[in-house]
């Protein structure tokens, strides 16, 4: 620990802390603009200057490490004057018109800093040169006129997201924030995650959707969890007058540390599907609105007699439902109705193989956090840049520091451009390929554990033949994996969809061989699918959906999207009940539609891909006339004289999980 004095206050702080953070820990605020707690200290804006006893000039406290006995003053007359001067320079550099800027009045860190110094004017006027405004992006606008060149956006894009789209062109006062090689943002490599907008201290990067919808002080913040995929990012839903104005990543979020992707941040705001708000029943071939009482009675009259019949009701639920809803769904149709066809929309494609492997071998998967320190990541059958974007951020950002990426996928993966090695394999060749990689590692003596493979050469030859990848490339891949210190293997639907446990087993063997998995480290993860993918498989909702003489089909779709295949497979259902939020091809062919709450209107738990149980909060009151998913299940049970225990915490423990739960 180091002792320092700031404004006369004795502070004990760990070595390596910056003066700015040390001051903060003691409740002393030093004005700053380019600093952001999730970003590497940069020292760009100079606003955080402080006086250090014995030092000739003021120092930027954000990049100044503490040293023992240091005496610092942050509010001397000289410092205050310098701060005002620095702010004057910042204002004069660009064109700030506060009266019509949407962040003015509390949300602009630049303006707030000037107010703090009690500045009533800018001693230096701007030079009145025009800077570019880029409005080509669907979600945000980049106005260089309001930019202070703090580079938070550039740093966030690289250091946090690992996308490296934003950068700075030109130099000095002519510097401009640009995308890629100065192309319009909307045509750039931007993945639309919006992190740059969230970190921008001024109105230079503004959100098109939430702009002018209210200042932060007018908004209520609801801490919740994203239900876009199984990563389970923590997010803050900002609400005004029962309307979602904006969604931000929660910097305290355990999984995502403040990051979100396009789907988490913007999809809920651009929802275009037509909401269903009254129950409907097909009468004379036409869907007609009815009361809940009539709808539930109709459903009950049809379903209750089918209880106990294994081929009675086939039921299928979305993995976007809360675990509370999923467990009641399972209890209702599997345990009470005794149906032999109760599954999820994912049908276990992204999960079942791993769960089955875990049932025999115990939990084998690691936690997402391990990606933050991985030096080689192998993505096999997992296009995570599309499906689980934020997980990708955790290692992509380390690639300039030497983290390697290998992709193995028969299809083009959006990660390929970044990858050190991108293997385009022939479909169905994964098993041979994985065995081939093992064989190369064993043959070259690079394995971390001993593995005897008497027929190594044959395995390698078979891998080359089956996958269509050259021997040389396979060797390179094997070497890159084997030579890394902290490798991580990610597998996705491309692997699990094959429903082949031995594929998981061989992948696990490869992980052990290269040191991705040992007694302490668990560097093997499956990406799973939607928000409650893991919960669904733990509840046993992971079978292939097949209609086999079932007399009715019940689909608890919630706010999920519908696949063509599901619509086709249920088009011949003798009786179809659809519990859904939005109109779709599926509701068109339903006999009964039961309208329910969307993700933001309900609360409940989600178990993310690495086994973390997280609670989503209700951000909005439900739309008039819709029921919560759980209420619908209870009502159907009650009308069939059944009671549901609804003990999801117990229910999810009935099966072994592929990843430890916490």
């Amino acid at each position: 620990m180091v002792q320092i004095t700031i404004n006369g206050k004795q502070i004990e702080t760990p070595e390596g802390t910056t003066v700015l953070r040390a001051a903060e820990s003691a409740g002393i605020y030093i004005p700053r603009l380019c600093d952001h707690k999730e970003l590497i200290p940069y020292g760009g804006c100079r606003l955080c200057i402080v006086e250090v006893n014995g030092w000739r000039v003021p120092m930027a406290s954000c990049t100044l490490p503490v040293s023992n006995g240091m005496v610092v003053n942050t509010e001397t007359e000289a410092i205050k004057k310098s701060r005002e001067f620095i702010l004057s320079m910042l204002f004069s550099e660009r064109n700030h018109f506060c009266p019509f800027c949407q962040v003015s009045g509390g949300d602009c860190e630049l303006q707030n800093a000037a107010y703090r110094e009690e500045m009533t004017s800018w001693p230096i006027q701007p030079g009145w040169s025009n800077f570019t405004v880029d409005t080509s992006h669907p979600y945000f606008i980049l106005d260089n006129n309001r930019c202070i060149l703090c580079r938070r956006c550039v740093r966030a894009c690289g250091e946090l997201v690992g996308n490296f789209t934003l950068s700075v062109a030109e130099r000095g006062a002519a510097s401009l924030i640009v995308a890629d090689t100065d192309v319009p943002l909307g045509e750039s490599t931007c993945i639309k995650c919006g992190t740059c907008v969230q970190v921008c201290p001024t109105g230079a990067l503004i959100d098109r959707v939430s702009v002018y919808q209210g200042h932060d002080k007018d908004l209520t913040e609801i801490k919740s969890v994203c239900v876009g995929c199984s990563v389970g990012c923590s997010m803050n839903i900002l609400v005004r007058d029962n309307r979602i104005v904006r969604i931000e990543g929660d910097w305290e979020g355990k999984v995502n540390s403040g990051l979100l992707c396009e789907h988490g941040r913007y999809d809920p705001l651009t929802e275009a599907r037509q909401r269903i708000t009254t129950p409907q029943i097909r009468k004379n071939g036409k869907l007609e609105p009815v009361t809940w009482e009539e709808a539930l009675r109709t459903v009950s009259d049809k379903l209750s007699p089918l209880a106990g019949d294994k081929n009675g009701v086939a039921a299928i639920a979305s993995t976007r439902l809360t675990v509370e809803a999923l467990s009641m769904f399972k209890e209702l149709f599997s345990d009470r109705f005794n149906s032999n066809m109760v599954t999820s929309i994912e049908e276990g494609v992204p999960t079942a193989a791993a769960t089955r492997f875990a049932e025999k071998n115990g939990a084998f998967e690691g936690k997402l956090d391990i990606l933050r320190t991985a030096d080689t990541v192998l993505c096999i059958g997992a296009n995570i840049n599309r499906s689980h974007m934020v997980a990708g951020f955790l290692f992509k950002r380390n690639m300039p520091k030497g983290t390697h990426l290998i992709t193995i996928d028969p299809d083009i993966s959006e990660l390929d451009d970044m990858a050190n090695i991108a293997l385009k394999t022939k479909a169905g060749s994964d098993l041979a390929l994985i065995k081939g990689l093992q064989a190369i590692i064993v043959k070259e003596g690079l394995g971390r554990v001993s593995l005897i493979l008497p027929n190594a050469d044959a395995l390698i030859e078979q891998a080359v033949q089956t996958s269509g990848i050259s021997h040389e490339e396979l060797v390179q891949t094997a070497q890159m994996l084997a030579h890394s210190i902290s490798p991580v293997i990610l597998f996705g639907k491309g692997i699990t969809a094959q429903r082949n446990e031995s594929l998981i087993e061989e992948l696990h063997r490869l992980a052990v061989l290269v040191g991705a998995v040992d007694n302490e480290r668990f560097g093997l993860l499956s990406m799973k699918g939607e928000a409650n993918s893991l919960a669904a498989t733990l509840l046993g909702l992971d079978e292939t959906f097949k209609l086999n003489g079932h007399q009715a089909v019940y689909i608890a779709l919630g706010d999920d999207y519908v696949s063509k295949s599901l619509v086709e497979r249920t088009s011949k259902a003798p009786y179809l009940v659809v519990q859904a939020c939005y109109e779709s091809k599926l509701t068109e062919q339903a006999d009964v539609i039961l309208p329910v709450t969307i993700w933001s209107e309900q609360e409940g738990h989600y178990i993310n891909l690495d086994g973390r149980t997280q609670q989503a909060q209700k951000a909005l009151p439900p739309h008039e006339g819709v029921y919560d998913n759980t209420t619908v299940f209870s009502e159907i049970a009650a009308r069939a004289n059944m009671t549901l225990k609804a003990e999801w915490q117990k229910a999810i423990l009935e099966r072994k999980s592929s990843v430890s739960l916490n």
């Binding site: 064109n95 018109f97 506060c98 009266p99 019509f100 800027c101 003015s104 009045g105 303006q111 000037a114 107010y115 009690e118 009533t120 004017s121 800018w122 001693p123 006027q125 009145w128 040169s129 025009n130």
Partner: protein, 162 residues
């Protein structure tokens, strides 16, 4: 107009101070013998504005710049991006609403349009009172402090630029 937002409090100011001149009083210019406080609103857009500012400065002990245009240049200053010539051309000739053949007015009696400037760019200002517009509370505070012989300090809720 924002001055009138003070409502009945304006009477308090009149009690404390003697209003010598304003654009709506008979006397349009401050007394030659000088005044204690001069308040100017608006930026310096042309030669006439500049003259007013210089006259006010020379006759007022304390000069107050009131509102964002006076303090920063404000919205009119956006024409500085294109320059005086282009702004005149656009306004008097090119604008869709103009009759064909319209010309830029060139009567020698007219003031010459200049770059838009904050007042402090032309004459020294003692108190800048930003706001678009400044709140009634802010205006009242500033005038009442000056009328009572104190220096107004704009901070916290009284300080805003929008």
């Amino acid at each position: 107009m924002s001055l009138l937002d003070m409502d009945e409090r304006i009477l308090k100011i009149v009690e404390l101070a003697d209003l010598r001149s304003s654009p709506i009083t008979d006397l349009k210019e401050p007394d030659e013998s000088g005044v204690d406080v001069g308040v100017l609103e608006g930026g310096i857009n042309n030669s006439a504005n500049e003259e007013v500012a210089r006259k006010m400065r020379s006759r007022a002990k304390i000069l107050v710049a009131l509102g964002d245009c006076a303090v920063f240049g404000g919205v009119p200053a956006m024409r500085n991006f294109c320059g005086v010539e282009a702004a005149l051309q656009r306004a008097y000739v090119d604008a869709e609403s103009n009759e064909p053949g319209s010309e830029i007015p060139n009567d020698p009696e007219l003031a010459t349009m200049t770059k838009t400037r904050a007042i402090h760019e032309v004459v020294p200002v003692d108190y800048n009172v930003p706001g678009c517009p400044p709140d009634a509370d802010v205006i009242f505070y500033v005038l009442s402090e000056l009328a009572q012989g104190r220096k107004p300090e704009l901070k916290n809720n009284l300080l805003h630029w929008d």
